[in-house]
Amino acid sequence: MSDPKHQPAQKLVFVAIAILLVIYPLVLPRFYSALAIEILIMSLFALSFNLMFGYAGMLSFGQAMFFGIGAYTAGLFLKYISSSLALAMFACVTASFLAAVLIGFVCVRFTRTYFIMLTVAFSELIYAIGHKWASLTGGDDGLVGIPIPRYAIAHLPTIDLENIQTYYYFTLIVVALGALVLRIIVNSRFGHVLRAIRDNRERAEFLGLNVRRHLLLSFAIAGLFAGLAGALLIPFEGMVSLETLHFSRSADPIIMSILGGTRFFLGPVVGSALFILIKDTIQNFAEFWMLWMGAIFVGTVLFLPGGVVGFVGSLGLFRSRHATTEEKEG
C-alpha cells in the first residue's frame, strides 16, 4: 500500500471530482452535458474492455458486438414489448451477458493471436447479421422510432430521459454503479485470479485454477457492461445506429484504455475523457481527426506503456493508492 500521507489528498480529489460531476450540468450549457454523457458512456464501455485486457490479458477487437447487442436489445424491447426502462435495461444486460457467454465459450479457449482474430470474426459476423437482417434491425438506417422511456417504475418520480439533465444524472448513476461493481470485481479473489492468469496462464493452471471458467466469466461480465453502455446511448442518438456494431466502435475502447493506461482501474475513464475531448478539439480544425488520434495512439503505445495515468503516476506528484498496488504487482 502507498504512502499514507497521500491518502487524504487523494480522497479530496475524489470528493472534488464527485461534486463537479453532480453540479456540472447545472452550471454549463447543454452542449457540455452532451459531451459529459458521451464520456460517461464510453468510460463504462472502455472499463468493460479493460476488465478483459488490463486484468485478464485478453485483447478483444470485437467489443462493439456486445455494445451493439445491448443497444439493439434495449431498443427492440422498448419499441415492441414494453416502454418500461427498468425492464428494458434488464433485457439488455441479460441479452449481452448471454451473447458473451456463447461467444466467449469459443473465444476463451484460445490465446493471443487466435483470440484476437476470433473476436474480430465474431464481431464481423454479428455486424453482418445486424446489417442484413433489416426487417428486425432496420439495416443501414438503424433502429428508429424507439419511444424514449419516461419512467422507471410507476412508484418512483418520473425519469424523463428526453430532458438532457435527467439523462445526464441517469447516465452518471448507472455508469458510477457499473464502475463500482467492476471495481469490486477486480479487487475480489476473482479479480486476482484474472491477474494471475494474465501474468502466467500456465502457472495459474498448475495451481489448479480453472482458467477457462474465469476467463469466460470475465468475458461475459465485460459483455454485460458493454451492452449496458450501448443501451445508454439510445436517448443520446434517439435511435440505434448500425454503427454501434461496427469494427470502428470496437476500436474506441481499445484506444481509450491504452491512452489512459490499462494497468490502472480508472485508466480507461481518463482515456475516454481524453479521447472525446481530443476528438472534439481536432474536429474543430481538421477534417480527418482519426489521423491525429491514430498518431497519438501510436505514440502512446511506443512511449507511454502505462498510458497517461501511468505517466502522471511516474512523476510522483499524484500517486493513487491503486496505481501503487498495480505497480507492485507488475
Binding site: R109, T113, V120, A121, A128, F247, P305
Partner: protein, 285 residues
C-alpha cells in the same frame, strides 16, 4: 454457369491469397498478426491509381506501386515496430492497429473519400470464351497470378538461402540467432516482403474493385478467416484457405445472396471448432 461461378470464386480466392500469404508469412516469423496489412493493400491500390493515371501505363504501376508499399512497410518496421519486439505481442499488434487508423485517414486526406477507378490495362480489357461463356481476361490474369505467387513463395522458402533462414527463424528464433543468422534483418525482410505481397494484391485489385478508403479493413478481416482456416504460418494453408473462402463466397451468392457476407466467418468458426490449428497448422494454438 457453375463453372463460371467457380472461376469467379477462384479470382476472389487468388486476390485473398496475395494478402493471406503475406499475413501468414509475417506471422510465421514475427509471431504477430499484421493488422495493418489491409491498409498496405489499400495503399497499393491508391499508388496504382496515381501511377497509372500519371503515367498512363498500368503495367508500370503494377511494378512500382507494390515497391512503394514495401518502402512504407520498411519505415513502419525499422522506425516503429522494431522498438516493441521486447514487449508483449499485444503491443506490437496495437501499434500496427494504430497504423490502420492513421493510414485510413492519410488515404482520405490524400485521395479524397470518393472511389478511384483504375482502368483495366488495354491488353487485358477483352474477354475470353470459356465453355461458351465470356469471361474477362483480366480475371484470368488474377487466377493465373495466384498459383505463380504460391510456387514462387514455395521455391523461395524451400530452395534459397534466405528462404531457408526465414524458415529456420520461424521454427526457432533463438537457435537461428545463435547460429549466426542476422535475425533482425530477417524480420525486416519478411515484414517488407509480406507487405510487398499485400501491395501487389492492392495493385491487382485496383482495376477490378476500384480503390476506396474502406477496402483495407474489409479484406484484411476476410484474410484473417483465410489464415485461421489454413493454419497460421502455413503458405499452402493460406492457399487452400483462400480457395475455400473464395468458393464459399462465390457459391454462397447463388444460394443465400443476402447473407453471403456471413458465410466466410460462419465457415471459419466451424473449421476452427473442428480443427483449431487450421487445416495445415501444426498445433500450438
Amino acid at each position: 454457369m457453375i463453372f463460371i461461378q467457380f472461376l469467379n470464386g477462384l479470382s476472389t480466392a487468388m486476390l485473398l491469397f496475395l494478402l493471406a500469404s503475406g499475413l501468414t508469412l509475417i506471422f510465421g516469423v514475427l509471431r504477430v498478426i499484421n493488422f495493418a496489412h489491409g491498409s498496405l493493400y489499400m495503399l497499393g491500390a491508391y499508388f496504382t491509381y496515381s501511377i497509372a493515371t500519371l503515367s498512363g501505363n498500368y503495367w508500370l504501376s503494377l511494378v512500382v506501386a507494390p515497391l512503394c508499399v514495401a518502402v512504407a512497410a520498411a519505415i513502419i518496421e525499422l522506425l516503429f515496430l522494431r522498438r516493441l519486439y521486447a514487449r508483449e505481442h499485444e503491443f506490437q499488434l496495437l501499434l500496427l492497429f494504430g497504423f490502420v487508423l492513421v493510414l485510413d485517414d492519410v488515404v482520405k486526406a490524400c485521395w479524397g473519400t470518393a472511389l478511384k477507378l483504375v482502368p483495366k490495362p488495354a491488353a487485358l480489357d477483352g474477354s475470353v470464351q470459356i465453355l461458351g461463356r465470356t469471361f474477362p481476361e483480366y480475371t484470368v490474369l488474377i487466377i493465373v497470378l495466384g498459383p505463380l505467387v504460391a510456387l514462387g513463395l514455395w521455391y523461395a522458402l524451400a530452395r534459397t538461402r534466405i528462404g531457408k533462414q526465414i524458415v529456420a527463424a520461424s521454427l526457432d528464433r533463438d537457435a537461428a540467432n545463435a547460429l549466426g543468422m542476422n535475425v533482425p534483418f530477417l524480420y525486416t525482410t519478411v515484414f517488407v516482403f509480406g507487405a510487398w505481397l499485400g501491395g501487389l494484391g492492392g495493385a491487382v485489385a485496383a482495376p477490378l474493385r476500384a480503390a476506396s478508403p474502406g477496402m483495407g479493413m474489409e479484406i484484411v478481416i476476410m484474410s484473417f478467416a483465410v489464415v485461421i482456416i489454413g493454419g497460421l504460418g502455413s503458405i499452402w494453408g493460406a492457399f487452400l484457405g483462400s480457395i475455400l473462402i473464395g468458393e464459399v463466397l462465390a457459391f454462397g451468392t447463388l444460394v443465400v445472396p443476402k447473407f453471403v457476407v456471413v458465410l466466410p466467418f460462419a465457415f471459419m468458426i466451424l473449421v476452427f471448432l473442428w480443427r483449431p490449428q487450421g487445416l495445415f497448422g501444426k498445433g500450438g494454438v
